[in-house]
Amino acid sequence: MSEEMTESTSEDEPTQGVPEPSYDWMGLTNQWGTRVKPGEHGLRLGDLNVGIYGEIPEYWDDQTRRPRGALPRAGIPPLPFSLRSKHEMWADCAADLYEEAIQRRWIPATEVPWDTLEELPEDVERAVCQICTELSQCANTELEIITYWQDRMSYGYFEVKQYLATATFDCARHLEVLRKRALSNGGGLGVESRGRVNRMILESSGGWTEAVVYLYLLRGTYITRMLTGLLSFAHNDAEAFIYSHMLEDHARHLTYGYDHLKYAATHHEGATAIMRTLLAIGEGHMARELKDGVVRSAMAIIFGGGIQGGRTYGMERYLLLVREYLEDYLSICEWLGVDRKESLHPMLKSYLED
């Protein structure tokens, strides 16, 4: 260490001298000798689950911030972590998704080719701006529900907390980029969402799993199809960049969501029955939201290249999107063991029958 620092500290020496160290923390470890080496993709979070550090119990009793694998300390007051069972939040892919999110980060300000935006016909620009506004509110709902639950999740399942931190960041980025698109091409923000499904998601105060059912299974699956459709009909490189990157982020969110629901379904008795109940109620709300004229017509206008085309080809294309969403949704429900084919809400079923 440098001479300058030692010289200055000698003047600062407290009159009582250096307190005798106790070293009573030394040797206090559950498992020593751990040496995880970086692999081909560096030193990843999932690589750390070795020995005791990889033991992930089904229930985490500890209500402190004790890192998994660290020794506890007596007398620490608890924190209100209400989610302490693995099935309430776990997904095997969480650690990998965390690292993937970091590697696939993007910066809207400088990476979106904003200079490729060109004037669009007014009806199309209004439709694009309206969809940006709608998706922005969806992202806001996702941000609010994740951050609501994040600090209620116990530390035993830190991989999930860390993954959700990346999802929080993704949502912030989506809010940012959608607002930027709406305000950078002669348009403006659209009218706000009616918010039926947003409220349903935010009202899932029973548990995180319940929120995930609505956020990712019921609504998220639809958002995927929306983004895919928007990408196919992107008007310029800027929009293509935005939608493709949002789609990547969103795909990660859905991977977590589906994986978590699968874990809950297979590890918690009664979980599938609860999901069935939630979906029976939620499908009705989703159906009403799909009937709402605003998003439906805005998407049709985008697909049809204007109001004129929106009335014909555009709407046909949008209805196909909804059909594809429902097919995806039903397929995932079946995979989860929550088959909805026979009991799908009639308003949603009608999209499949046309």
């Binding site: 923390w25 506890p72 620490i76 007051p77 941000l143 931190a165």
Partner: protein, 355 residues
């Protein structure tokens, strides 16, 4: 015989919403830094409500829909409660300066260390792994409570949540990558009165977290370049320090804003600072604090081993002095410097006694 002409089916399109959109004809243009949040502060979209009545979660400036469902019970809905003048700038900076603990730390430079040094480093890493996410959990909670009208400030907090997850991750990696392991938890950020978790007001939370807690930790991270034993550790601490400095900047700028715009809250905030200084001086939540187990570990690391403990301890005192000095200067920068002149703060006296 003529061919039948297929006419496409025609659907009704509701386009009434086009008459109810937000301000129209807006065209933000990218500057030399790309298209930043600052650049889109155009027209009425730049208008920040001093008090937000947004109960539906709509984006600021969006057209209002009378039948929209109320979703928000946003307890943070006045600008002065959360704002800071450079929120857009800090958010864009955070986006630009992300890093990966998996690939940006030269883990291959880790080499076996003497046992006591490895134990000291692992204790410190256990501590940071434990506490870093209080700085993630708690801002996250406040995001959910804050109206979306203050998008820019919320986005800075979202970036902080991401940063803290990365810190939590990198310290766990270090503890498990060099023949050591996690040690005993500290309990420093638990549910006791005065803790960051139990703050009931955003500014109270920010004072405890950003100004006091993270200010102290920032100095620690910077010191990592001195007590880090290899390139991996030095890089780890250096990159964490950059993030931490950004979080501290949030706290300083928020306090500066509230100092200028909510003078009626001045005494209240002085009380938060009283409390934060009490904790800073007593060593709570400060790994270099006198009560902290981690201070022994730091002394070992700074000295380069138990045999140089005393020398390390002296360097630790230098860290404490710097922590206090920088804290004072940040609070002055934030607009609350009178407390160091009028005798309210115990820090000047303590600093003088240490010197």
């Amino acid at each position: 015989m003529s061919e039948a002409v297929d006419t496409p089916k025609e659907y009704d399109l509701d386009t009434s919403w086009m008459d109810n959109m937000g301000e129209w004809g807006v065209k933000a243009t990218p500057g030399k830094r790309g298209l930043t949040l600052t650049d889109i502060q155009v027209g009425s979209y730049a208008d920040l409500p001093a008090v937000s009545d947004n109960m539906t979660g709509r984006p600021r400036g969006a057209g209002v829909r009378p039948e929209a469902y109320r979703v928000g019970a946003y307890s943070v809905h006045t600008l002065s409660e959360i704002w800071l003048d450079n929120a857009e700038f800090l958010y864009e900076e955070a986006l630009q300066r992300q890093w990966s603990s998996a690939t940006d730390i030269p883990w291959h430079t880790l080499e076996p260390l003497p046992d006591e040094v490895e134990e000291a480093e692992c204790l410190l890493c256990t501590f940071f792994n434990e506490v870093e996410f209080v700085a993630g959990d708690v801002p996250a909670r406040w995001i959910a409570k804050t109206t979306p009208d203050y998008l820019e400030a919320r986005n800075v907090l979202s970036a902080q949540v991401m940063d803290e997850a990365r810190h939590m991750d990198v310290f766990r990696k270090r503890a498990l990558a060099n023949g050591g392991g996690l040690m005993r938890m500290s309990g420093a950020t638990s549910g006791f009165v005065g803790s960051i978790d139990l703050a009931r007001d955003f500014t109270e939370m920010s004072t405890r977290l950003h100004i006091s807690g993270e200010g102290a930790v920032l100095t620690m991270f910077r010191m990592g370049e001195l007590f880090g034993q290899n390139e991996a550790e030095k890089t780890m601490y250096r990159l964490c320090a950059q993030d931490e400095a950004r979080h501290v900047a949030f706290g300083v700028m928020h306090l500066r804003y509230i100092s200028a715009t909510a003078p009626e809250r001045h005494e209240e905030i002085e009380c938060y600072l009283d409390e934060a200084e009490g904790q800073l001086l007593s060593g709570q939540q400060n790994p270099a604090g006198t009560q902290a187990e981690t201070s022994e570990a730091l002394a070992i690391l700074l000295g380069g081993g138990v045999q140089h403990y005393d020398e390390g301890h002296k360097k630790l005192l230098v860290i404490r002095r710097r922590q206090l000095k920088e804290y004072v200067k940040r609070v002055i920068s934030a607009g609350f410097g009178d407390r160091f002149e009028n005798g309210r703060s115990p820090i000047p006296e303590r600093y003088a006694a240490a010197g």
